[in-house]
C-alpha cells in the first residue's frame, strides 16, 4: 500500500484527544467512540507489512509497521478503548477524555512502531497520559483517592522517568552497535539490550520495579483506572515479545511476577489494589512466555495479553461500579451487595472466572498456551509455578473478592448502595463479558489473530478435567479456610516503603532549600537597593552617571527575576 494512503490507526485517537477541548459534552462522547472505532477500521483494512517511512537526519523512521504481533496488541488496545469509552459515557470533562484517548493512541502507537524513536515517543506519551490520569484521581467524587493521587503520580513519574532513561540509553547503544533504528529482536547480552530490558520491565511492573502499579492505579478515578489497566503493561509485553523473545532471564522474572502478584493479592483489602496486583501477576505469564520463546509460548503471550485486556478491564469496571455505587472499594467495608448490585456481581464473576481460567472463558484458552509451552519445553519448575499462581488467582479474584464484596456479612446487614450504576457502565461491562465468552467458546477467533502458525486444541478431555480439578480443589480449600482470608482495614507494605519516606524527605528538603534561596535572593535585592540608596546619598545633588544607573537597574532586574523564578 502506498505510504500516502496508509492510515495510521493512532491518528484518529490522537485527533479525538486534540478535539476534546473544542467540543461540547455530546461531541466529546461521540469523539471518544469514533476515535477507537476508526482505529479498529484502519487496523482491519491495513494489510500486513503496511508501513510509513519518514527520512530524518539521515535515518529512516518507521512510525507504522503492521506486523502480526503488533496487530494483535493494537486490535486489543483499540477494541478495549471503545468499550472503556462506553463505560465512561457519563464523563464529559475535556481533559479527562483527552488524556484517555491519547493513552489509547500511545498503546496503539507502541504496538505498531517500526523504529525506536517512534516507539520511544509513543512510549512517553503513555507515561505522560497515565500520569495525568492518575493526578485526575484528586477528584474524590469520581472515585479518586483525593490528594494522595498527587504523591502517587509523582512516584509513578519517578520510576517511569528512570525506566524511560534506561530505554533511551539502551536504544542509543543499540543504534550505535547496529547502525539501525529498526525495532528488531536482539540477544540479551551487553549493556544496550540489558538497558532496554530494564526500561521495558519497569513498564511491565516486574519486581522490584513494580510498586508504581498498585500504588497509582487504584488512586485514579473510576474511569481513569479502567483506562489505565489496559495499556502500559501490555505495551511493554508487546515490545518485549518483539525485541527479546527467548531471553532466558525473562522466564524466571515472569514466573516470579506471577507468584509475587497473587501473594499480595491474597492479602489485599482494596478491590482495585487487589486487581492491580493481579495485573502484575497476569503480565508475569506473558513475560514468562516471552522468555520461553517457542512459537507456542510467543503465541501464548500475545493471546494472554489479548484476553487479559478484556477480562481485567471487565474486573476493573466491576470494581469501579462498586466504588461508584457504594463509595468505597475496601472489602472490609463491603459485603451483602448481591441483591443491590446483582448485574455487577454476574459480570464480575464472568471476569473473575475468565482470569482464573475456568472453561469455556477466554482465560482458559489463552493461559493454556503459556502453561503448555512450559511443559512442551520441559520446564517443570516453571510449569508448577504457573499452575500455583493460577490457583492463587482463583483464590483471590474468583472466590475471595466476590465473597467479601457481595456475600453475606457477619452482622447480617449490607453495605449501602447509595447510587445506581449507570446503564452505560453495565453496557460496557456486558460488551467486555461478551468478548471474554466469545473468544473462550470460539478460541479460533483469538487463535486466528496470533503471529505464528500453530495447532493447539484447548478443549481436550484431559485439559478440561485437569483444569476443573485445579479449580475445585482451590474452592474446597477456600470453603475450609476462608476465615483466614477475611480482609481487615490494613495496609500492606511493599517495596515502595523503601523509597517513599526518603523521597518525601528529599521533596521536603528541596522545599526548605528553595525557601532559603528565596530569602537569600530577597536579601540580595534589599542590599542592592540599599547600596543604590547610599550611592544616591553620596552623590546628593549630582546626577548619577548613566552607566551606574544602568548597572544598578540591570542588577535589580536580574535579582528580581531570580527571586521571582525561585518563588
Amino acid at each position: 500500500m502506498s505510504a500516502a494512503f496508509t492510515p495510521h490507526p493512532a491518528i484518529p485517537l490522537l485527533l479525538a484527544a486534540l478535539a476534546m477541548p473544542l467540543l461540547g459534552a455530546n461531541g466529546r462522547r461521540v469523539a471518544a467512540l469514533l476515535g477507537p472505532a476508526l482505529a479498529l477500521v484502519f487496523l482491519a483494512v491495513l494489510p500486513e507489512g503496511a508501513s510509513w517511512t519518514l527520512p530524518l537526519l539521515g535515518e529512516t523512521l518507521e512510525p507504522l509497521r503492521v506486523g502480526k504481533l503488533g496487530r494483535v496488541f493494537a486490535l486489543a488496545f483499540a477494541g478495549y478503548g471503545l468499550i472503556a469509552s462506553v463505560y465512561a459515557w457519563t464523563e464529559t470533562d475535556a481533559a479527562r477524555k483527552g488524556f484517555q484517548m491519547a493513552l489509547c493512541a500511545g498503546g496503539v502507537g507502541v504496538a505498531l512502531a517500526g523504529d525506536w524513536i517512534s516507539l520511544f515517543l509513543f512510549w512517553e506519551l503513555l507515561t505522560v497520559c497515565s500520569l495525568f490520569i492518575i493526578w485526575q484521581g484528586r477528584d474524590r467524587a469520581a472515585g479518586g483517592a483525593g490528594n494522595t493521587a498527587l504523591g502517587a503520580g509523582l512516584r509513578y513519574l519517578l520510576l517511569h522517568l528512570g525506566g524511560g532513561v534506561c530505554l533511551l540509553a539502551g536504544l542509543l547503544l543499540q543504534w550505535r552497535a547496529t547502525g539501525s533504528l529498526a525495532v528488531e529482536a536482539v540477544a540479551l547480552s551487553g549493556a544496550g539490550p540489558w538497558l532496554l530490558a530494564i526500561g521495558l520491565l519497569t513498564n511491565a511492573a516486574a519486581p522490584p520495579l513494580h510498586a508504581w502499579l498498585p500504588d497509582a492505579y487504584p488512586r485514579a478515578t473510576v474511569f481513569g483506572s479502567v483506562f489505565l489497566s489496559a495499556f502500559t503493561t501490555k505495551a511493554a509485553v508487546c515490545v518485549l515479545a518483539r525485541v527479546l523473545p527467548g531471553a532466558e532471564p525473562l522466564t524466571w522474572i515472569g514466573a516470579g511476577m506471577t507468584l509475587y502478584g497473587v501473594t499480595f493479592a491474597v492479602m489485599e483489602n482494596d478491590m482495585r489494589r487487589l486487581l492491580a496486583y493481579h495485573i502484575m501477576s497476569q503480565v508475569g505469564y506473558m513475560v514468562c512466555a516471552v522468555g520461553i520463546g517457542s512459537t507456542l509460548a510467543l503465541n501464548g503471550s500475545a493471546a494472554h495479553a489479548f484476553a487479559h485486556i478484556f477480562y481485567k478491564g471487565l474486573l476493573m469496571m466491576s470494581a469501579g461500579a462498586v466504588v461508584h455505587a457504594v463509595g468505597t472499594g475496601r472489602l472490609s467495608e463491603l459485603g451483602g451487595l448481591a441483591r443491590a448490585l446483582r448485574p455487577v456481581l454476574v459480570l464480575m464473576l464472568i471476569g473473575a472466572f475468565s482470569i482464573s481460567g475456568v472453561p469455556p472463558l477466554n482465560g482458559f484458552v489463552s493461559k493454556a498456551l503459556a502453561v503448555s509451552a512450559a511443559g512442551y519445553e520441559h520446564r517443570p519448575v516453571v510449569e508448577l509455578i504457573l499452575l500455583a499462581a493460577s490457583v492463587g488467582t482463583f483464590l483471590s479474584v474468583g472466590l475471595k473478592m466476590p465473597w467479601l464484596a457481595f456475600g453475606p456479612r457477619a452482622d447480617g446487614k449490607a453495605a449501602a448502595a447509595r447510587r445506581p450504576v449507570p446503564r452505560s457502565m453495565l453496557l460496557a461491562m456486558g460488551l467486555a463479558a461478551a468478548a471474554c465468552v466469545a473468544t473462550g467458546v470460539f478460541p479460533g477467533l483469538l487463535y486466528s489473530l496470533l503471529p505464528y502458525p500453530m495447532k493447539y486444541a484447548p478443549y481436550t478431555a484431559d485439559h478440561v478435567v485437569s483444569s476443573l480439578q485445579l479449580l475445585l480443589a482451590t474452592a474446597l480449600v477456600f470453603l475450609l479456610l476462608r476465615g483466614l482470608l477475611v480482609a481487615k482495614s490494613m495496609r500492606t507494605l511493599d517495596v515502595d516503603t523503601l523509597y517513599r519516606e526518603p523521597l518525601a524527605r528529599l521533596v521536603r528538603g528541596a522545599g526548605v532549600l528553595l525557601e532559603r534561596a528565596q530569602e537569600a535572593a530577597g536579601d540580595v535585592l534589599e542590599a542592592i537597593l540599599a547600596a543604590g540608596g547610599a550611592l544616591r546619598a553620596r552623590v546628593r545633588g549630582r546626577a548619577l552617571p548613566t552607566w551606574a544607573q544602568a548597572l544598578l537597574l540591570s542588577m535589580a532586574l536580574v535579582a528580581t527575576a531570580i527571586a521571582a523564578l525561585w518563588r
Binding site: L395, A410, D462
Partner: protein
C-alpha cells in the same frame, strides 16, 4: 467457621481437624467431585502429552490445587500478614485508595 464472613481466626490443628470432621454440604460435594474427576481422568481422560512423570498420576492437578491454595492461605495468614501489614495510620494511606 461461621458461614457469614466472620469466622474464628484461630486455626489450631485440632480445630482444623474438627472443621474437616464437621464439613457438610458444599465441602463434601466438592471433595466427591474431585474424586470423581480423578476417576474420570484415570479411566477416560489421561494426559495425552505427559511432559513430566506426575502428569501420569490421576488427580495430580487436584493435588497441586489443594497444596497451593493451602499454602497461599496459611502462609500469608501465618507469616506475611503479621510481617507486612500495618494499621492504616499513615496519613497518605488513611485517605484511602478507593475513595
Amino acid at each position: 467457621m461461621t458461614r457469614a464472613g466472620k469466622p474464628s481466626r484461630k486455626l489450631s490443628p485440632r480445630a482444623f481437624v474438627r472443621r474437616l470432621r464437621d464439613a457438610r454440604g458444599k465441602e463434601t460435594a466438592l471433595f466427591a467431585a474431585l474424586l470423581l474427576l480423578a476417576l474420570v481422568e484415570w479411566r477416560f481422560a489421561p494426559n495425552a502429552h505427559p511432559a513430566f512423570p506426575w502428569h501420569r498420576i490421576p488427580g495430580y492437578s487436584a493435588l497441586i490445587g489443594l497444596l497451593a491454595a493451602s499454602a497461599f492461605t496459611v502462609l500469608t495468614w501465618l507469616a506475611l500478614k503479621p510481617l507486612l501489614q500495618r494499621p492504616e495510620e499513615d496519613p497518605d494511606e488513611k485517605e484511602g485508595a478507593s475513595g
